[in-house]
Amino acid sequence: MQIQEHGQQAQVDEDLRASLRETAELRIALDEHAIVAITDPRGKITYVNDRFCSISKYSREELLGQDHRIINSGHHPKAFFKDLWTTIIDGRVWRGEIRNRAKDGTHYWVATTIVPFLDDQGRPHQFVAIRTDITEAKRAGAAAAHLAALVESSDDAIVGKDLLGIVTSWNRAAENLFGYGAKEMVGQPITRVIPADRRDEEARILGAIGRGETVRNFETVRQRKDGSLIDVSVTISAVRDHAGRIVGASKVVRDITERKKAEATIRQLNASLELRVEERTAQLAAANRELEAFSYSVSHDLRAPLRAADGFSQALLEDFGPLLPEEARRYLRTIRISTQRMGALIDDLLAFSRLSRLEVSRQMVDQGELIEAVLDELGRPWKDRSIDITLGKLPSSSCDPALLRQVWLNLVGNALKYTRKRERAEIEIGCLRTGGVDAFFVRDNGAGFDMRYAEKLFGVFQRMHRAEDYEGMGIGLAIVRRIVDRHGGRVWAEAAVDRGATFFFTLEGGAPA
């Protein structure tokens, strides 16, 4: 019996050892996989495995005796934990996902199962919590949800399709744009929204996608569910699987109906603007023709009576001169001088009006060369006068050479004229860089003028001096201004009575004040 007893005891021992070994092995496997903690009925931690320590970054000593508030992230509401406690105290298993905070402040997600173990009275005497780290899965899920939300909330219609052109996804904007719901379109051919006369586009698009190409901002027309047509801009790119194989296409469709409308409006506006410009040009041409006819008539009809007045005064002098007293002959000569002056005024006025009709044909002109020719034309070296010409360096500039020659002739001619009473005339010709543009100038030490009359200076037939002092029609500076105007430049003068004058001009905009 003893032996048998002994034998039974050995069997029990054997079974116990086996059971203990099995439990130990299960536990090793469990520790390998899961985060394990045991708490007492009051919630104090009585056991943690290595995984619990490593994920929470607390040492075992720091954890034992604490409750779970040590790793509470604050993410879940109080009711969440209240529900957890109610469940396990009630002796039921609780399952859920908890976001915890590690010692270093980082957060981690665990899928948690808490099993309450009851004592003989049926009260829980400890809770075993087994957790799995799901932080990565949570993160990936959140990213995927974020992407899905992005696609869903996009203002552009985003459509997925396979290589046969069958719709695989259809976001809300696509629903709004095309009028078809996702349920109606997913699984259907995309050609449903392509107008009949554009069906061939789809084959070409699929061909391009099959070759791995991206179709960008392809502007075309699509058809809504209600049959209406919309202008769209489509960008289509290949979608690849993990192995890099093209499995379909994503299609971003933007409604450009409004833009197209705006473009059409702009085109229309441009066309009407062009029409108005044409009309204005025609009006201008008509006005120019009228002006030309007017000038023609002036040149013919105003000169004829002058010619008669001059011709018959001369005839009177020739045929009856000896019979007239000297006083009468002087009157006749005065009549002739006046008529000739009137003739010259008419000629100047015509030349001036012709200036505004002339085409300005710009080319690069060496102003230095031009001024040399002008000085020669004005009679250099003026043997009967003492004249100092200081010639600065003049840059080349873009202008009409014939018109600029006239400008220089008038300005230098004036300088010569108004220095006539000087013992030694000093004339400086040069160029300043001012306000970002070249300002040419002609300076003299002549009669000058009162700056109070500077405004009148460039008007037609405005004179600053009495005819006895300096001859002239008063048209030279008016011609200068008109030529400079026609070049888009500016002309101005600085002077003082009897202390000379300086005339400046530019041949482009942006002249200084």
Binding site: H300, R307, Q314
Partner: protein, 150 residues
């Protein structure tokens, strides 16, 4: 300076003062050629082509020089010029345009029609006289049209 008797000048001019001054200038230049005055373009054409009032005129007695104003009543000077150049009977007659107009367009259209000379009538009578004298000298005396051989 005596021009051949037959060397007639046709003066086409509507302004009576200009007619008188031109005649005076010609006389002063000692150009004593017979001068016929036509007062508008139509009359000038009738005279040249022996039509209308001039149907009695013999076409063989064509003028040796036409002094032509551009701005004329009825048919203007450039049209007269065109008719002269466009007709075999009158093509050889030198035409000198005498006008007040210095407008570029007139100058260009005159030369494009083969006008022989172009004189802008100056206000100053002496210069007008000089111009008329030179024209007369050149076209009546120096620039004799080819004559049939003896």
């Amino acid at each position: 300076m005596i021009a051949p008797k037959s060397a007639e000048i046709l003066l086409v001019e509507d302004d009576p003062q200009d007619v008188e001054l031109t005649l005076r200038a010609l006389k002063k230049a000692k150009l004593f050629n017979p001068i016929h005055v036509a007062r508008d373009g139509e009359e000038a054409l009738d005279y040249l082509f022996c039509e209308g009032a001039h149907s009695e005129r013999r076409a063989s007695d064509e003028p040796s020089l036409v002094l032509l104003d551009l701005k004329l009543p009825k048919v203007d000077g450039l049209s007269v010029r065109r008719r002269i150049k466009g007709d075999g009977r009158t093509r050889e007659i030198p035409v000198v345009v005498l006008t007040s107009s210095g407008e570029q367009s007139d100058v260009v259209s005159s030369y494009s029609l083969g006008v022989n000379s172009y004189i802008v009538k100056p206000v100053n009578f002496e210069r007008f006289y000089e111009a008329v004298r030179e024209i007369g000298l050149y076209w009546l005396l120096l620039n004799q049209p080819p004559k049939p051989g003896p």
